[in-house]
């Protein structure tokens, strides 16, 4: 068949976030029968495994790649080779990716980190000890978020950042243990700003079990469904996220346009909610950076509007 093939490659398959993204890819396929869109992903969260999949897909001969890099830097070499072979490359969550035609971001990372922190400060009443969690110190976006949060907290001189950048490895149990330890070391801690999807669950559980729900504030990236219980109990103050389904559709939409030889202009409409009027700037490499407006901050009051 001559239909262009667009392969979406995610960080790891099977987890809720990327399952949600897959619904977007499926939706896109349904809406666009003139392309073949499918999603792939490694079994383990390892950049090397993702790299192998991308390599094999290029060898197989796809027309477009929509990649959510585990680690943008690791993919540079391979993506360059793919582009040299004429494959259209679109990335997501990788605003530093050099070898890409377009990187699609749901929002500006600094804006997002600032927004999370502002919500935290509001809950803390602008004072008290707080700390941050990242998936790992190597995760660029996470570091950007907490970095922007740290910057934002300077507006509130009474907020004291302690033991920052704890690594959670996106493991709820490990995060829980770490959070317990922090609660023990700093009995007067008032706030947590977390980054990886599972962090709110681990920290939230620690807060919940210590009977501190409502007394300690927790704002971080998380998905509405898993966080529902803890949002209800008050252990989680608010969660921030963007909808991976829409991001998946946006990536594929960009890829399809680029394959068709079109260009994405500033203010363009990708036909996906949250990406109706995207900002397009020059990226770090030859490609462009496409920034949407897909940020959502949800709390107990409104999380039910986004059940996934």
């Amino acid at each position: 068949q001559d239909k262009p093939v667009i392969a979406t490659v995610v960080k790891i398959s099977g987890i809720p976030w990327f399952d949600r993204m897959e619904t977007g890819v499926t939706q896109f396929q349904k809406d666009n029968p003139d392309v073949v869109a499918t999603q792939y992903g490694p079994a383990t969260a390892d950049a090397a495994q993702q790299l192998q999949i991308v390599n094999d897909l290029v060898a197989k001969g796809v027309n477009g790649l929509a990649v959510v890099p585990m680690d943008p830097s690791v993919l540079e070499g391979t993506l360059k080779r793919a582009m040299d072979r004429g494959v259209i490359v679109v990335t997501h969550e990788a605003d530093n990716q050099k070898n890409t035609h377009a990187d699609v971001e749901a929002f500006d990372n600094a804006d997002y980190g600032r927004a999370l922190n502002e919500r935290l400060a509001e809950c803390m009443g602008g004072k008290g000890k707080w700390t941050t969690f990242v998936g790992s110190v190597g995760s660029r976006t996470h570091m950007q978020w907490v970095g922007a949060g740290e910057e934002n907290a300077k507006k509130h001189p009474d907020m004291v950042l302690v033991d920052k950048n704890n690594e959670s490895f996106d493991d709820a149990n490990g995060t829980y243990e770490k959070a317990k330890e922090i609660l023990r070391k700093h009995p007067d801690i008032k706030g947590f700003q977390t980054s990886a999807g599972n962090d709110v669950l681990g920290v939230g559980r620690a807060i919940d079990e210590a009977g501190l729900s409502g007394k300690v504030c927790l704002v971080g990236t998380g998905l509405p469904n898993p966080s529902a219980d803890l949002l209800e109990s008050g252990a989680i103050t608010a969660i921030g996220f963007w909808d991976p389904q829409k991001a998946g559709m946006a990536m594929n939409s960009v890829a399809k346009s680029l394959i068709a030889g079109k260009k994405i202009e500033d203010g363009a409409d990708l036909g996906v909610p949250g990406y109706e009027k995207v900002k397009v700037v020059k990226g770090p490499g030859e490609g462009v950076l496409i920034i949407g407006n897909g940020m959502v901050i949800a709390d107990k009051a409104n999380y039910k509007e986004y059940l996934f």
């Binding site: 987890i15 709820a172 243990e177 023990r184 529902a228």
Partner: protein, 341 residues
């Protein structure tokens, strides 16, 4: 026909301490553990509160259960790396079954079935190890991939974020609970009891039953044990079934404590568990070790991992510290043993 001279030929002339250490290497583990606790308390007196103990106790449960299984296999001269896959497998499929099919299954039955499921997968290991006649390390690398592959490819990958109520309740059920000075509730969960119970059972099996002795016999020399009439097949099947059962139990407890069943969890932590058992004094070549030592080894790893924040080590440095520590402990261990010979 006296043989008094034989008695003085028996090894002597070592200091009493070294002698003790060579018979009970777990003493070294205990000393290291103690030293860390003292050092940490000096650096940060906040460590000295009951909640530390409770947290460490709770954090040891899953690793402790795994370690007991690894230990019993190590004692028989084998190695198992598939237990995490078994745990993930039983944990996830059990939760799935309860959630979708038998929502009001009593928690006791859930635990029993998970244990039985783990044992069943263990039996697969045991049969393979016995019939393929290759070191169990190799077989269990294979079954680790196999079990995990089956779980993720055919059973499911969707995280179960809201557990069936009875499982959630089990994870939250307190053994005791108290309020700390600053108004925080400190809870030692009920499931903590599973670890000492399993440890006692393991100790009892190893030291009070013929099977226990047979396990050490197998670890001493498998072909000799076979010649003396020990049924290797029975031992292999029991061993791996037991370790599998502990893994299944650990998996369910992990899910209940975590309030979610994540099929990606656990796999990847097996080398750490083996390290804990070896730090507890069991030789990697088999035939030695004690249950107490195993528990001490687990505590050692848990404590080291959980005092990093207390001591204020920045997260970029944590791996260096843990790695360096394992080397130091292992070096000290070998130093004491070498001095003996």
């Amino acid at each position: 026909m006296s043989a008094t001279h034989l008695q003085d030929a028996a090894p002597s002339r070592r200091s009493a301490f070294l002698d003790l250490v060579s018979r009970r290497p777990e003493i070294i583990t205990f000393i290291i553990l103690l030293a860390i606790c003292v050092a940490v308390s000096v650096i940060n007196p906040a460590f000295l509160q009951p909640s530390s103990l409770v947290d460490i106790g709770r954090a040891s449960v899953v690793m402790g259960l795994f370690a007991l299984g690894v230990f019993i296999i190590l004692a028989a001269g084998g190695i198992d790396v598939s237990f995490t896959a078994i745990a993930a497998f039983t944990m996830y499929s059990m939760t799935l079954v309860v959630k979708d099919h038998v929502p009001d299954m009593p928690i006791a039955l859930v635990l029993v079935l998970a244990t039985a499921g783990g044992a069943l997968l263990g039996v697969v290991n045991g049969l393979l190890v016995h019939h393929l006649r290759v070191p169990s390390l190799i077989v269990t690398i294979g079954t680790q991939y196999l079990f995990r592959g089956i779980l993720l490819a055919f059973i499911g990958t969707v995280w179960i974020m809201s557990l069936p109520t009875q499982m959630g309740a089990f994870g939250r059920m307190p053994l005791f609970q108290f309020e700390s000075g600053d108004g925080r509730t400190i809870t030692l969960p009920f499931y903590f009891l599973v670890l000492p119970a399993a440890a006692l059972l393991t100790w009892w099996i190893l030291s009070r039953t013929l099977m226990g002795r047979a396990i050490f016999a197998l670890g001493g020399n498998a072909s000799v044990a076979e010649r003396l009439g020990y049924s290797l097949k029975t031992i292999h099947i029991f061993l791996f079934a037991y370790a599998g059962a502990l893994a299944g139990l650990a998996g369910i407890i992990h899910a209940a404590a975590n309030r979610q069943a994540n099929p990606f969890d656990l796999v990847g932590s097996e080398i750490n568990v083996i390290a804990a058992v070896v730090l507890g004094g069991a030789r990697i070549t088999g035939g030695t070790g004690t249950v107490l030592g195993t528990l001490l080894g687990v505590l050692l790893i848990v404590v080291v991992n959980s005092v990093l924040v207390m001591v204020g080590i920045p997260s970029t440095w944590q791996r260096v510290v843990v790695g360096g520590f394992i080397l130091l402990a292992a070096g000290f261990f070998m130093f004491c043993q070498k001095k003996n010979n």
